[in-house]
């Protein structure tokens, strides 16, 4: 059962552009939605996370938008930089259970 679906698989964006990655989840009991950033040869690192009691969370150039009724959430990377080139994973879990269900990942390439 694919609990978290992520799209697109990859995207290329020009420096300064906006990268948008979308995720949809199935389990309505999920109540914690983190995004992880992974560089080649490294483990995933937490980028930003949201709980369903808010519709948006912003940290610097990274914003999560959350739509509880649609069971969807997305990551927006504003003013994309070459250093943002990485694989991004959305994930979901229950608040009292750190068993993360990951999306398939999106490889973002930012061209200078």
């Amino acid at each position: 059962q694919q609990q978290v679906k992520q799209s697109p698989q990859s995207l290329i964006v020009q420096k300064g552009g906006i990268s948008i990655i979308n995720c949809a989840y199935e389990n309505t009991a999920f109540d914690y939605f983190p995004w992880y950033q992974q560089f080649p040869g490294k483990g995933p690192a937490l980028l930003i996370a949201i709980r369903p009691d808010v519709s948006e969370k912003k940290e610097g150039r990274f914003t999560i938008s959350f739509n509880k009724s649609a069971k969807q959430f997305s990551l927006h990377i504003m003013d994309s930089q070459p250093g943002d080139s990485a694989t991004y994973f959305c994930a979901a879990s229950l608040i009292n259970d750190y068993k993360l269900s990951f999306g398939a990942g999106t490889t973002v390439t930012v061209r200078a």
């Binding site: 483990g43 937490l46 709980r51 009292n96 068993k99 993360l100």
Partner: protein, 114 residues
């Protein structure tokens, strides 16, 4: 900055052999996890460990897998009789508590079964 460390970074083993992957979680963390990522696929949960026992495991974590915290600092994943399909990147993670606190991931061990 505290980090989760994993050894070795790459392990090649013959099919049927036992392997032990090692992890040193962040020192004040209480929850420990193993995840795996088959090449080109998503990261999958294997097992969580708290208070010296497994708190949850996935269907992937069958009788060939075991975890242990042998000495209060290391956290190990043992695969008793490796199969070709066990080839993957294995990530250890730890968190201070469960819930909406950050799980810190190690850099991973690439296991290649030949």
């Amino acid at each position: 900055e505290p980090e989760v460390t994993q050894t070795p970074s790459h392990q090649v083993t013959q099919m049927g052999q036992e392997v032990i992957l090692r992890c040193v979680p962040i020192s004040n963390h209480l929850y420990f996890y193993w995840y795996r990522q088959i090449l080109g696929q998503k990261v999958e949960f294997l097992v969580s460990f708290y208070n010296n026992e497994i708190s949850e495991k996935s269907e992937i974590f069958d009788d060939q897998f075991s975890v242990e915290r042998p000495d209060g600092s290391n956290f190990t994943l043992k695969i008793r009789s490796t199969k070709l399909e066990d080839s993957a990147m294995y990530f250890c993670a730890s968190s201070e508590i469960t819930g909406d606190t950050e799980a810190f991931f190690g850099q991973g061990t690439r296991l290649t079964v030949v």
